[in-house]
Amino acid sequence: MTCPRCGYHPMNHQADKLTYPVTREEAESITSVMDGVIEEVFSCPNCGWIESRRPDPNGST
C-alpha cells in the first residue's frame, strides 16, 4: 500500500484488527469463530499516517 498522504511506499502492515460490524452486510459476514471483521492496518514509516483495508478475499495482500 502507498501512503495517500506523502506517497511513501510501502506502508508497513502493522496489525490485523478484529472489528465489530456496523452495517447489516458486515454483520452477515461474521462467523462464530471470527466474531467480527478483520481490518488490515498499515502505518506510513515516513509521515506516520494510518490506513486500513479489508483483506483481499483471494488471499493476496
Binding site: 508497513n12 502492515h13 502493522q14 496489525a15 490485523d16 484488527k17 472489528t19 456496523v22 481490518e39 492496518v41 502505518s43 506510513c44 514509516p45 515516513n46 509521515c47 506516520g48 499516517w49 494510518i50 490506513e51 486500513s52
Partner: protein
C-alpha cells in the same frame, strides 16, 4: 523515512460539562508535554468536536479529529469520574475511530472531587483502551480533590504533582517512541 518528525501527543479533554475542573488538569498536562523537546501537542476538547450523537463509526467521524489521531504517536486522556464511570461523550467520541489508534500509547489522567482521584474511571477505561488497540502505560496521574489543586485561574497550587507527571510522561514518551518504531518497521506475522 523522516527521523526528525517530532512525536505528536495530543491531550483529550474528556468531558463537555460546564464548570469542568478537568479543563485545568488537561491544560496542565498539555503545558507539561509542550516543555519536552522533540514532542508536540495540542488540546482536543470533546465538547468542541462536531460529532453527531445519533450515528457511529465511519459516518460519524470528524475528519479533523481523525487526522489528528492518525498522526498521533500517543494520547493523554483526561477523564473525570462520573458515578464511577467515564463521561458518555468521551466514549462516543473515541468510538468514532479505530484504525487510527492501533499500536499507539495512551496514558490516563483521572480527575475527581473525592479522594480516589479518578481511580475507578481509569480502571473502567483500560478495557476500552485495549479494544481500541491502544497500549496503556503503567503510570497514571490522579487528581484527587481537584477543587483544591488549582486556583480559579487554573494555575496548579500543589506542585507535588509535577514529579509524578514527569514520570508519567517519561513512560509515555518511551512507549510512544517504541511503538512508532514497531508500527513503521515490524510487520504483523512477519516472523511466522
Amino acid at each position: 523515512m523522516n527521523p526528525d518528525r517530532p512525536l505528536f501527543i495530543p491531550v483529550i479533554l474528556g468531558t463537555p460539562r460546564r464548570g469542568r475542573m478537568s479543563e485545568h488538569a488537561a491544560e496542565l498536562m498539555r503545558a507539561q508535554i509542550e516543555l519536552r523537546p522533540g514532542v508536540r501537542t495540542e488540546l482536543i476538547d470533546v465538547a468542541a468536536l462536531p460529532i453527531p450523537t445519533d450515528d457511529a463509526g465511519e459516518t460519524a467521524k470528524d475528519a479533523a479529529f481523525s487526522e489528528k489521531i492518525s498522526f498521533a504517536d500517543a494520547l493523554v486522556i483526561v477523564a473525570p469520574e462520573y458515578n464511577h464511570g467515564y463521561p458518555g461523550l468521551l466514549k462516543h467520541v473515541l468510538d468514532t475511530n479505530l484504525r487510527e489508534y492501533i499500536h499507539k500509547a495512551v496514558g490516563i489522567v483521572g480527575v475527581s472531587a473525592g479522594v480516589f482521584g479518578g481511580a475507578r474511571v481509569i480502571q473502567n477505561l483500560i478495557p476500552v483502551m485495549r479494544e481500541l488497540g491502544l497500549v496503556t502505560i503503567f503510570w497514571d496521574v490522579n487528581f484527587t480533590t481537584v477543587q483544591s489543586k488549582f486556583d480559579e485561574s487554573g494555575a496548579l497550587v500543589d506542585e507535588s504533582f509535577l514529579p509524578r507527571i514527569a514520570k508519567f510522561l517519561d513512560e509515555l514518551v518511551w512507549m510512544a517512541e517504541t511503538l512508532r518504531y514497531g508500527r513503521s518497521h515490524v510487520t504483523i506475522g512477519g516472523s511466522s
